[in-house]
C-alpha cells in the first residue's frame, strides 16, 4: 500500500500533468485540423454540404416504433417516424426508414454503421428514397445526427453518429479528421439550408 501511495503521489506530481499536457496538445491539434474529406473503410466521408446536396430530404423526426423482419433473404428493420421539422424535400408527416440488421426469431443480424433508433428519440436524418414504402439514410451513420440538450445554454446541439474521434496516440504522427459534433442546432439548420439552396441553383 505504501508503494501504491508513493506511486500515486508521484503521478499527481508529474506524470498525470505531463499526460494532460500531451492531451491538451492533441486537443489543440484536433481543433486546428479542419473537418474534411477523410475516407473510410466502411464509409467514404461525406461533408455536411455533400450530405445536404445528395439527400432528397432532410428532416427532424421523432421515432415512433420499429420492427424487424425478413425481406429478400435479409433482416431489415423498419422504423416509423413522425416528421417534426422539414429542412429539405417533401415528405409525408409519417414516414418509414429501412435499415439493415435487427433480430427476427432466433437470428440476430449485426451490421456496423447502420443506425438504430429508440422510440421517443428525435434525430435529424438525411434521407434517400430506395423503395416506394420507405427511405434509406444517406451514408448510414453519417446521415444520422443525434440531438442533445445543452445544459449550459438551454439550447440543443447535434452530433453525427460517425463523428467519434480516435485516441490521442502520442506515438502517432497525426490525428484523424472528424465529423460534426456538438454543433448548435441553429447553426446546423443554417448550414443545411445554405447547402440545400446551393444545390438547388442551376
Amino acid at each position: 500500500m505504501r508503494e501504491m501511495r508513493e506511486h500515486f503521489r508521484k503521478l499527481r506530481g508529474g506524470t498525470i500533468f505531463s499526460s494532460l499536457r500531451v492531451v491538451l496538445l492533441w486537443v489543440l491539434f484536433a481543433l486546428l485540423w479542419s473537418a474534411g474529406t477523410t475516407d473510410g473503410t466502411t464509409f467514404r466521408r461525406l461533408s455536411l454540404g455533400e450530405l445536404a446536396t445528395a439527400a432528397e430530404a432532410v428532416v427532424r423526426v421523432r421515432c415512433l416504433s420499429r420492427e424487424s423482419r425478413w425481406e429478400g433473404g435479409e433482416i431489415w428493420t423498419l422504423t416509423q417516424f413522425e416528421v417534426v421539422e422539414n429542412l429539405k424535400g417533401n415528405v409525408p408527416r409519417l414516414l418509414a426508414v429501412r435499415t439493415l440488421g435487427g433480430r427476427v426469431g432466433h437470428v440476430q443480424s449485426f451490421v456496423e454503421g447502420a443506425p438504430a433508433f429508440r422510440a421517443g428519440e428525435e434525430v435529424f436524418l438525411f434521407l434517400v428514397s430506395r423503395r416506394p414504402d420507405s427511405f434509406g439514410v444517406l451514408g448510414w451513420a453519417q446521415g444520422t445526427f443525434r440531438i442533445r440538450a445543452d445544459a449550459s445554454t438551454g439550447g440543443e446541439r447535434v452530433t453525427q453518429d460517425s463523428a467519434g474521434l480516435a485516441a490521442a496516440n502520442p506515438n502517432a504522427g497525426k490525428l484523424p479528421r472528424k465529423g460534426i459534433r456538438n454543433l448548435p442546432v441553429e447553426e446546423f439548420r443554417r448550414k443545411v439550408a445554405e447547402a440545400a439552396e446551393l444545390s438547388g441553383r442551376p
Partner: protein, 421 residues
C-alpha cells in the same frame, strides 16, 4: 448531474507468473471530463443473449451476453468469394489485366487479409480454422445461406453514397438454429457472415496493393477487406486510432498499418485489434497474453444512480482503457459497467474486465476511464449495449429470473481513483 467515478478494485490478476515477471500494476485514471479528444474506446464485440424460454439443452442455461463468434475447429469457417466483378466502371483495379490473372490477384488479397487475422499469436483462431476459399460465379452470392461470402458486384438496396463496404453477420441465440447450410452448436455462433463492397459508387474504386501505387484515388482493397473481416469475425468498431477496426480507413492511395509479411502476417493490425482477437478467440495454451485488470466504476453518491431500472449499483457505459505505460499505446479498452456469471442475467454493477493483456518484464499499464459524452456517442455503441438484456417487453414470455433492462449510459462524470487493497 456530474457523478464521481472511482475504480475500487483495479488489480492485475496474478496468473501464476505475474510477480515472477515483475509486472508493475499501475492504476491511473485520466481525468477526461470536458476533454473530449482524450477519449478512446478499444475493441468491442456484438453481444447476444440466449433465448431463455427454450430448454436448457437449447439455451445453454445462461442469460449472460455472449459475443458473436465462429467456432475455430479445423476448417470450421467456410469461405467463398464471388468472381463477378463490375466492369463498367472497373471497381477493383489490378496490375494483371488478364481475366484469370485478375481473379488470382484479387484472391491473393483476400487470402492475405484472412491470414492477417489468423496470424495473431495467442488466439485459437488460426489458419487451420479456415476452410478452403472457394469461388462462385454468382453475382449475388452474398445471402443468408450459411455460406460466408465476399461480393464485389452485388447490387444491394442498403448501399447509399458514402457507404464503401459493409459486413452483415447473422448470429444464433440458441443451439440448433439453422440458417441455410449452417447449424449452431453454441449460442452466439455466427451462422453467416457476408462482406459486400459497393459497386455502384463512382467515387469508390478499390485497388490491390500491387495496383495501388499507380491508383492514388483508389482505396486499398487489402485494408478494406481486413477491416471488414474484423466484423466478419465478430468485432464491432474501435475508436483507437490507427486500429484496423477504426471505422474510417486511410485516405485513397494509402493503407492501414504495415503490409503483412511472411514473418509478420498480422502487421496491419494494432495491439488493440490483437488483444480483441485474443479475448474473442482465447487460446488456452497462451502463456504470454494472460494479464487481467478488473474493477468497478462506482458513483461516489449512490443516490445519483438512476432509480430505474432497478438493481443498478454502478455506472454503466464508461470506457475503461489500458495503455502501455511506457509507449502510451492503447492495448485494450472495454465498455465498462456490467458483469455476468453463472445463469445470469447481466448485472449493472459498474464492473469492467480487461483481459488477455501481455505480461513480461518491464510491462506496466495505465488505465483510464471516460464517459461516453466525449468521443463516442452512446448511439455508436448501441449494438454493444442494446443486446445485453432481454425481458418480457422485448420477448413475450421471457422468464423473470433471466430478465434485465439495460440502463441509460452515464454520459457525464468526473473521475478519481481509489486504489484497491
Amino acid at each position: 448531474m456530474e457523478k464521481m467515478m472511482r475504480i475500487t478494485t483495479s488489480r492485475m490478476r496474478n496468473t501464476g507468473k505475474w510477480k515472477k515477471l515483475c509486472v508493475v500494476p499501475t492504476a491511473l485514471l485520466f481525468l477526461c471530463a470536458g476533454l473530449a479528444p482524450c477519449g478512446a474506446r478499444g475493441y468491442a464485440f456484438n453481444y447476444i443473449v440466449a433465448d431463455m424460454r427454450q430448454p436448457v439443452s437449447v439455451s445453454g442455461g445462461s442469460a449472460c451476453p455472449v459475443p458473436a463468434h465462429f467456432l475455430t475447429s479445423a476448417a470450421s469457417i467456410n469461405r467463398r468469394w464471388s468472381t463477378a466483378l463490375n466492369t463498367n466502371p472497373v471497381s477493383v483495379l489490378t496490375v494483371d489485366q488478364t481475366a484469370a490473372g485478375r481473379l488470382n490477384e484479387i484472391e491473393a488479397v483476400i487470402q492475405s487479409s484472412f491470414a492477417t487475422w489468423a496470424g495473431v499469436s495467442g488466439a485459437s483462431l488460426t489458419g487451420s480454422s479456415l476452410g478452403p476459399l472457394g469461388r462462385s460465379g454468382a453475382q449475388n452470392a452474398c445471402a443468408a445461406d450459411g455460406v460466408n461470402s465476399i461480393c464485389f458486384d452485388q447490387s444491394d438496396a442498403a448501399f447509399t453514397p458514402g457507404v464503401l463496404a459493409f459486413t452483415r453477420v447473422m448470429v444464433a441465440d440458441r443451439i440448433g438454429e439453422t440458417l441455410g447450410a449452417a447449424t449452431s452448436s453454441e449460442v452466439g455462433q455466427i451462422l453467416d457472415a457476408d462482406i459486400e463492397l459497393n459497386p455502384g459508387d463512382p467515387q469508390a474504386t478499390f485497388a490491390t496493393p500491387a495496383a495501388l501505387p499507380n491508383a492514388p484515388s483508389a482505396y486499398d482493397l487489402e485494408s478494406i477487406l481486413t477491416h471488414e473481416l474484423g466484423h466478419f469475425l465478430g468485432f464491432s468498431h474501435s475508436a483507437v486510432w490507427p486500429a484496423m477496426m477504426y471505422p474510417f480507413a486511410p485516405s485513397p492511395g494509402t493503407f492501414t498499418g504495415d503490409r503483412p509479411t511472411s514473418q509478420a502476417p498480422d502487421a496491419p493490425l494494432s495491439n488493440d485489434d490483437r488483444t480483441g482477437l485474443r479475448a474473442l478467440y482465447p487460446d488456452p495454451s497462451d502463456t504470454v497474453n494472460v494479464g487481467t485488470i478488473s474493477g468497478r466504476i462506482l458513483a461516489a453518491n449512490p443516490l445519483s444512480l438512476p432509480s430505474a431500472p432497478a438493481g443498478v449499483t454502478g455506472l454503466f457505459g464508461a470506457y475503461v482503457v489500458a495503455m502501455d505505460a511506457n509507449s502510451g499505446e492503447v492495448l485494450a479498452g472495454v465498455l465498462g459497467g456490467w458483469t455476468c456469471s453463472g445463469a445470469g442475467p447481466a448485472q449493472f454493477d459498474g464492473g469492467f474486465r480487461l483481459t488477455h493483456l501481455p505480461v513480461g518484464t518491464g510491462r506496466s499499464y495505465k488505465i483510464y476511464a471516460e464517459p461516453l459524452n466525449g468521443t463516442v456517442d452512446p448511439s455508436q455503441v448501441s449494438n454493444a449495449t442494446a443486446t445485453l438484456c432481454r425481458n418480457a417487453l422485448t420477448d413475450p414470455g421471457w422468464p423473470a429470473p433471466s430478465a434485465c433492462v439495460v440502463p441509460g449510459v452515464t454520459t457525464n462524470l468526473m473521475a478519481r481513483v481509489r486504489p484497491g487493497p
